[in-house]
Symmetry: C2
Subunit: 233 residues, 2 copies
C-alpha cells in the first residue's frame, strides 16, 4: 500500500513544472562550478586583474546579475578556485598517508597528486595567481593550506631519509625543490602541447627522483668565487 502511495507521489512530483529541491540544489552547484571553472580559465589566461566579472559572464552567455546569484565577487571566485585546488591536494595527501607504506612510495604518490592538480584550471590558479590579490584575512586561510602541504612534503622527505630511501639532505630545501619543479608545470603546461598531464608528471617525477646526472659522479657544485657570478666556475 505504502508502495502505491509513493509511486503516486513520485508521479505528482514529476508532473510539476518545478524541479524537486534536491535536483535544483544540484543544478545550482553545477552552475556555480561552471562559473568557477570559466573564471579560473580566464584568470590563468589573462591574469586576475585583467579579467572582469563581465568577461566571465560573457563567456558563459549570461548577464552579470545572473553571475551574482552564484558568487559574490571576483575575490570570492579566486578564493574558491585556489581553496578547491589546495583542499584537493590535502585530501589526496591524506588518502596517501592513510594507505601507509614506505615514505618514498608515499612521497611519489603525493608528487603525482600535486603535479596532476597543477595541470588543471584550479591548480593553475594556485600557481599563476595565488592568494596575493586577496585581502589579508582571505590570504591567511590559503597560506595555511599551502603551509600544510609543504609540511607534509617535508615530513615525508624526513621519513624517507630515516628509512634510507632518500639521500641525506635538508627536508625543507628538498621540499621546496620538488614543489618548485612540480609547481612550474602549472606555469607552462598547456593541454594542446602534445603531452598528457600523466606524461608530464611521469617525466618530472623521474627526473627529480633520479636527478639528471647519468652517473652519480663527483661534480663540483659549490660556490663560484665571489664577484664571478656571471662567469663560469
Amino acid at each position: 500500500m505504502s508502495r502505491t502511495r509513493s509511486t503516486t507521489a513520485a508521479k505528482r512530483v514529476a508532473a510539476s513544472p518545478w524541479e524537486p529541491a534536491v535536483a535544483r540544489a544540484r543544478q545550482r552547484e553545477a552552475k556555480r562550478q561552471a562559473v568557477l571553472q570559466t573564471a579560473a580559465r580566464l584568470f590563468n589566461e589573462r591574469g586576475f586583474h585583467a579579467t572582469s566579472l563581465d568577461d566571465i559572464a560573457e563567456c558563459l552567455h549570461v548577464t552579470k546579475p545572473t553571475l551574482y546569484y552564484y558568487v559574490k565577487s571576483k575575490d570570492e571566485i579566486l578564493l574558491e578556485c585556489v581553496r578547491s585546488a589546495l583542499v584537493m591536494m590535502h585530501e589526496g595527501i591524506d588518502a596517501v598517508r592513510r594507505d601507509g607504506g614506505r615514505a618514498l612510495d608515499q612521497l611519489i604518490a603525493c608528487m603525482r597528486i600535486y603535479a596532476g592538480i597543477v595541470t588543471e584550471e584550479f591548480g593553475k590558479c594556485v600557481i599563476r595567481i595565488g592568494e596575493d590579490p586577496l585581502p589579508a584575512p582571505l590570504k591567511k586561510e590559503l597560506r595555511q593550506l599551502k603551509g600544510g602541504i609543504d609540511r607534509e612534503f617535508r615530513r615525508l622527505i624526513a621519513e624517507g631519509i630515516a628509512e634510507g630511501s632518500l639521500v641525506p639532505c635538508d627536508p625543507k630545501m628538498a621540499a621546496f625543490t620538488l614543489a618548485g619543479a612540480l609547481s612550474w608545470i602549472g606555469r607552462w603546461y598547456r593541454d594542446d602541447g602534445g603531452l598528457t598531464p600523466e606524461q608530464v608528471t611521469d617525466q618530472a617525477v623521474e627526473l627529480l627522483l633520479g636527478g639528471i646526472l647519468a652517473r652519480k659522479e663527483p661534480v663540483r657544485v659549490r660556490a663560484v668565487p665571489s664577484g664571478t657570478r656571471a662567469r663560469k666556475s
Copy 2:
C-alpha cells in the same frame, strides 16, 4: 704650458657649484637604479597592482614628480626590472658558453647564475610578477628574452646527453624541471631566512643533479590508474 692650463681649468671646474656633466649623468643613473630597486622590492612584497608610484616615492622620501624625472610609469619600471634580470641571465650564460668546457659544467654554471639572480630583487620580479601586467608589445620582448634562456638550457641539456654526462631524457622537460625548481627559489627565498643565496643554490643544484633517491634503485613512477589521482598508486 698645457699642464698649467689644465690645472687651472680643473680648479675652475671644482670651484663651480654645478657637477661636471659626467658626474651628473652617473648620479642620475644611480638614482634611477635606486628607484628601480625600491620599486622591485615593493612589487615583490606587496604585488604589482597593490603598489602605487606614491608608495615608491614615499619609500625614497621624494615626491611623485621627482620620480617622473627618472621613470615614465609603473609599467616602465616593471619592464626595466624584469628586463635587467633577464639580460643579466643572458650575459651570464653567454660568458659561460664563451668559456666552453663540458656541457655538464656549463649547465651547472648556468644553473648557479639563474638561481643567484632570482634571489635578488630584479630576479624575484621575473618570478613573482613577470610580464603579465604589461601591455602586449612590452610582454613580447620579455617573453623573447625568457624563451632565449629556455633554449640555452635545452641546448646544454641536449649536449650533456650527447656527451654522456646527463641521463637520456627530453631536454624540454628537463629544462622546465630545472628552471622550475630554481625559479621557485625566487618565490620563497628571504634574506633573513638563515641561508645565503649561495647555500640555497648549492643545495638546489646538488638535488637536481643527483636526485633525491639514496640509490638509483628501480622505482615505479608511472601513472596511477585513471580515476585514482587522489589516491596512492
